[in-house]
């Protein structure tokens, strides 16, 4: 029942992909523009990448962004994993639906509202805004994404594996680190990467909760674009796109290889049993 692609399929595919990727392709092309004007092609050059390395402000912003993303992703992963464990494992308890609803609410809550409410909280508490407040804000909204990813991994988890460990003399906390965590690790890592990416490209919440000296890269880019786009910005964006692409390809290659290996093992096991 395999059919070749019809004209309709090919057209939809081309239109769909152009819609998604044409802007990014343009951005990459113009990052190699010789001309100072962003929209006029003046020949190939890599000079904007060189000048990027001289731009202290952009590099500082990038460094702040990476630190915020790393710290908030790590904390969000710990908290999100715990939340997922409670949601999947505790069965029924008083206020379970309220709890799960509250964990997932930030997924659908408008970022502006989230940012504003956090700002109000920090002001009310009299906290000096800066690196720490941005990081806390990112942790708050990334946590629910982690919880969703880890929860999906936990749903397919055979609880008797943990019971077996306890039955063999392993106390509950040790069982978590020796048995549960290694088994759900792919989900936890995926959750961390998602949280890292979300923090990396967040503009709205960061703008609300940051203070002097803690400007993130998206904020920096946004403010510079308002003064006029320079090819330097295009270069920064191209590097970001490149990093993300490499990450995605690497992840899919690893997954694919594991799957192939697994299938081969299972075939071998099936053949070995008479």
């Amino acid at each position: 029942m395999t059919r070749g692609p019809t004209w309709f399929n090919i057209t939809s595919l081309v239109l769909g992909f152009s819609f998604l990727y044409l802007p990014i392709v343009l951005l990459v092309i113009y990052s190699f523009n010789e001309s100072r004007l962003v929209t006029v092609w003046g020949g190939f050059s890599t000079k904007w990448y060189a000048s990027l390395l001289q731009n202290e402000q952009l590099l500082d912003a990038a460094w702040v962004t990476l630190r915020v993303a790393f710290a908030s992703a790590t904390i969000a992963t710990v908290l999100g994993t715990l939340a997922a464990l409670i949601l999947v494992r505790s069965g029924r308890f008083m206020g379970r639906s309220l709890f799960s609803g509250m964990i997932f609410a930030p997924l659908v809550m408008p970022e502006v509202i989230l940012g504003l409410s956090l700002l109000l909280l920090f002001v009310a508490m009299g906290t000096a805004r800066g690196f720490w407040t941005v990081m806390l804000a990112h942790t708050t909204f990334a946590m629910c994404y982690v919880a969703v990813v880890v929860q999906s991994r936990l749903v397919g988890f055979d609880k008797s594996v943990e019971e077996a460990a306890e039955d063999l003399g392993c106390p509950p906390v040790k069982t978590f680190f020796l048995i549960t965590l290694p088994i759900i690790l792919p989900g936890v890592i995926a959750g961390w990467m998602l949280a890292f990416t979300l923090s990396l490209d967040d503009l709205v919440i960061a703008s609300f909760t940051t203070g002097p000296g803690a400007t993130t890269l998206p904020m920096k880019i946004y403010s510079q674009v308002r003064l006029g786009v320079t090819p330097e910005i295009n270069a920064v964006c191209t590097i970001l796109v490149g990093l993300v692409t490499i990450g995605v390809i690497a992840a899919s290659l690893v997954t694919k290889r594991q799957q192939v290996q697994r299938e081969r093992d299972e075939r071998a096991a099936f053949g070995a049993d008479g």
Binding site: D158, A164, D167, L168, G169, P172, P182, D265, E266, A272
Partner: protein, 385 residues
């Protein structure tokens, strides 16, 4: 005349017949409720050291809950559980001297076979060379030597089952709990493994407690069987007693195949009891005495293989003979099962089975033959409703 006994005698191991013999595992008035649902109801049971004991029952009868309470994964709502004289109340699973083999095997997917087996020993901080020695012993015992470095997903179902067994035996627990251990295996492998389990149990001289819904499995492996229904023990006895002397209609019907005949008590004496079939009026003469009063309705349970079948009609005035008409025949190779109609209604049949000991038969029984069904005075059991 030599004294008759029930079924084959397995071995000289009958601690349950001696009321002074201390039990190894004891459930004392144990009740377990899940909300409103009563999973186990005021149950008391004694299991002895080195016994192979089976909990048998349909799904939802409470057998798995009973085992999980012994392992420590469930807490009794009331009552006590003792193991080797120690009250288990408040002792968490990881400090109990029992080990369990799970229905799903529950192998650790990220560890190889060797590490799976060594896991329990490491928790006891056993010296490394002792662990190594014990693991290789378990690998040899379960014939898994060449798979030591494999991960669980690289093994077949039968191999995984053996890893689970090796892992639960490695710590030499006081009692091994087996939760439907052979459910996932195909029939041939299951039968082989049943005998392997029995040999292991005798070799290691350990107490085994198995939970199963498969009566053949329970009868093959166990010294004694507890038949459970709705959270209560219906009968606790050897496989032969359970089969030949069921104590209730439920057990008679649950274990194996049986003809249940509704009958009225018409005569009681020292020599036994006379019954008359309620539906068809034939007379049953049994050597069994019954508590049921004259005129009371009881059930006469007789196994199909204890009913003889022959072509012809009954002799006038004889008891334990019934005229029938062959209605259905099931040829199963080793045995044949014949349903004979004994009344007006099409469903009013009695089953007789016999072994096909000859390949060739002269004048075999066929459909619509007139047959006579007969049985001995001690062939069946009288059961009260």
């Amino acid at each position: 005349m030599a004294k008759k006994s029930i079924g084959p005698v397995r071995r000289e191991f009958v601690p349950w017949e001696n009321s002074d013999h201390p039990p190894f595992i004891e459930f004392r008035n144990v009740t377990k409720k899940f909300g409103e649902f009563v999973a186990v109801r005021n149950l008391s049971l004694k299991i002895y050291e080195k016994e192979f004991f089976a909990l048998l029952g349909g799904s939802g009868c409470g057998k798995t809950t009973l085992m999980r309470m012994l392992a420590g994964f469930e807490t009794p709502t009331s009552g006590q559980i003792f193991l080797d004289g120690q009250d288990l109340a408040g002792i968490p699973p990881y400090r109990r001297p029992s080990n369990m083999m799970f229905q799903s095997y529950a192998l650790f997917p990220h560890m190889n076979v060797e590490k799976n087996i060594a896991f329990g020993l490491k928790q006891d901080s056993m010296p490394a060379q002792d662990i190594e020695a014990r693991v290789s012993e378990m690998l040899r015992l379960t014939k898994l030597e060449q798979f030591a470095q494999r991960k669980p997903h690289q093994l077949s179902g039968g191999q995984r089952q053996r890893v689970a067994l090796a892992r639960s035996l490695a710590k030499r627990p006081k009692v091994l709990l087996l939760d439907e251990p052979l459910g996932a295996l195909d029939r041939k492998l299951r039968e082989e493994t049943q005998f392997e389990l029995m040999n292991l149990q005798e070799e290691l001289e350990m107490t085994f407690l198995i939970v199963t819904h498969d009566q053949e499995e329970a009868m093959t492996v166990a010294d004694r069987i507890a038949v459970m229904d709705k959270g209560e023990l219906v009968q606790v006895a050897t496989p032969a007693e359970i089969y030949e002397a069921p104590n209730s209609k439920f057990v008679a019907d649950f274990i194996g195949d049986v003809n249940l005949i509704e009958a009225k008590v018409t005569e009681k004496s020292d020599a036994g009891t006379r019954l008359v079939s309620v539906v068809d009026g034939f007379v049953i003469d049994s050597e069994q005495e019954t508590e049921a009063g004259l005129g009371e309705t009881v059930w006469y349970a007789i196994r199909p293989e204890k009913v003889r079948i022959a072509q012809g009609r009954r002799e006038e005035g004889q008891v334990n003979q019934i005229d029938g008409l062959v209605w259905d025949i099931a040829y199963l190779g080793d045995v044949s099962c014949i349903h004979s109609k004994v009344g007006e209604d099409d469903h009013d049949t009695i089953r007789a089975t016999f072994a096909n000991i000859s390949r060739m038969v002269e004048n075999p029984i066929t459909w619509d033959d007139e047959v006579v069904l007969s049985f001995d005075r001690d062939a069946g059991v009288i059961l009260k409703g």
